[in-house]
């Protein structure tokens, strides 16, 4: 049992590039899934059955099947008809997956904003949409924050799965480095440590966000 971390040092620039890709994907998916989740939730709640039932179906489908299966379907399935880069498939796949989870949260929190708030706003002369944007959604967003930030912390860990469809995030680049250096333990331990540090930072961020949200509600 001998450990040799010098290959890890040698490949540090490549690893860091992988970390950068992971973080960029994380930001892109976070924006897409939070904004998209809110839009999907509003459409689901405020449109006729014919419009919203397919949305409800897709939310349900994304939540009851594994991410990797969804990624394979998108990658091999859609790749069958049109050629799209893996990175786009990855971001869209992860984005849709978490959009469903976030929409599910928004649907619950929008419903939880009391009808009294709605009536108060309408009685001031605000219209239906204005009430939604100025009164209901901001409150719903604040209430959703704890679960949203939880989802985003889980999502960042799931970026590692994108290596399965060949996206150059940090697990993928380590697999490449391992194929050259034959040092799987050293590389995967390094990845574990990096992920743990990212997680600690995200948890600190979550605490900060939640304190602010609690202050506002």
């Amino acid at each position: 049992m001998e450990f040799d971390f010098s290959p890890v040092i040698d490949y540090l620039p490549v690893l860091l590039q992988g970390v950068g890709v992971t973080l960029l994907i994380g930001v892109a998916v976070a924006v897409m899934s939070v904004v998209g989740g809110q839009i999907v939730a509003v459409i689901t709640l405020y449109t006729r059955k014919m419009v919203n039932w397919p949305l409800r179906f897709f939310i349900w489908l994304f939540m009851t099947t594994p991410l990797l299966l969804q990624l394979y379907f998108l990658y091999f399935g859609i790749g069958e008809w049109i050629l799209i880069p893996a990175i786009v498939v990855g971001v869209l796949g992860l984005g849709f997956h978490y959009m469903a989870y976030n929409a599910d949260i928004f649907i619950a929190t929008i419903k939880s904003v009391s009808s009294g708030q709605y009536e108060a706003s309408r009685s001031l002369g605000f219209g239906h949409l204005a009430t939604l944007f100025y009164v209901v959604l901001p409150q719903a967003f604040n209430r959703a924050l704890p679960q949203l930030s939880n989802n985003m912390i889980i999502m960042v860990k799931d970026i590692s799965v994108l290596s399965a469809i060949g996206i150059g995030e940090m697990v993928y680049v380590s697999q490449y480095a391992i194929s050259v250096t034959f040092r799987p333990f050293e590389f995967y331990i390094t990845i574990t440590v990096i992920y743990y540090l990212i997680n600690l930072m995200m948890e600190a961020g979550q605490t900060w966000i939640e304190r602010r949200a609690a202050y506002r509600s």
Binding site: Y72, A164, V171, F185, Y188, I191, T192, Y195
Partner: protein
């Protein structure tokens, strides 16, 4: 949709789905014991034990299951740990879900009103007998529900062992997409199987939950 193809590949997928169930059930079973041990150890009188078990829970929950799987399967031999793919999936799954489950069990125990503990202690029951007769029966409902949520995550996570070539549902689906060029058919069938498994888990959880909380309806 090519229904003939679906009928043709269904047996293969059912077989693979069984592997998914098998690996998840075993991981859940062992995970429960790991979780129970962690619940006890994290409040141990011995400081290093307490510290280590909390650190373990924090690290496992703070890193991806996928990376843990790769670390143990490919990196394991470097520390003398050689596991076949299926065993590796069970072991890593159990140790992973055990950390989450220990938090779920602790949360359920802490949710029981502190007056229950006082009343029991004032009758002369000790810590352990209080846990056995008073606290656990009342925590059971919440515990079953949160373990149920984790069991579903475990089933979905088990798809990742396809990467270390365990022939479970996702592995088989990927292979069939490649060989049949019919992604929609394969996806529909395999998704359906995951849904059936997950709904079965939900049904069992609901049944156990009703039994554990029967007293609230009587």
């Amino acid at each position: 949709m090519d229904f003939n193809l679906m009928i043709e590949i269904a047996p293969l997928l059912v077989q693979a789905a069984w592997v998914t169930v098998d690996i998840s059930a075993r991981a859940l079973f062992f995970g429960f014991f790991i979780a129970s041990a962690l619940v006890v150890l994290r409040t141990s009188r011995i400081r290093p034990v307490r510290w280590l078990s909390r650190a373990y829970i924090s690290v496992v929950r703070g890193t991806p299951y996928f990376v843990q799987l790769l670390l143990i399967f490919y990196g394991g031999p470097a520390i003398g740990l050689r596991l076949d793919p299926f065993t590796c999936g069970v072991v890593v799954g159990a140790f992973n879900i055990g950390a989450y489950m220990s938090e779920a069990i602790r949360g359920a125990i802490e949710s029981v009103d502190s007056g229950q503990n006082e009343a029991s202690r004032s009758l002369g029951f000790g810590r352990l007998t209080t846990l056995q007769y008073i606290i656990l029966p009342q925590a059971a409902g919440l515990m079953i529900r949160s373990v149920g949520v984790l069991a579903i995550i475990l089933v979905k996570n088990s798809s990742l062992v396809s990467i270390i070539s365990v022939v479970e549902l996702t592995y088989q689906a990927q292979r069939l997409i490649g060989s049949t060029y019919k992604p929609l058919e394969v996806f529909t069938l395999s998704a359906l199987m995951y849904i059936v498994i997950i709904y079965a888990v939900m049904g069992i959880v609901e049944f156990l939950y009703r039994r554990a909380t029967r007293y609230t309806f009587l």
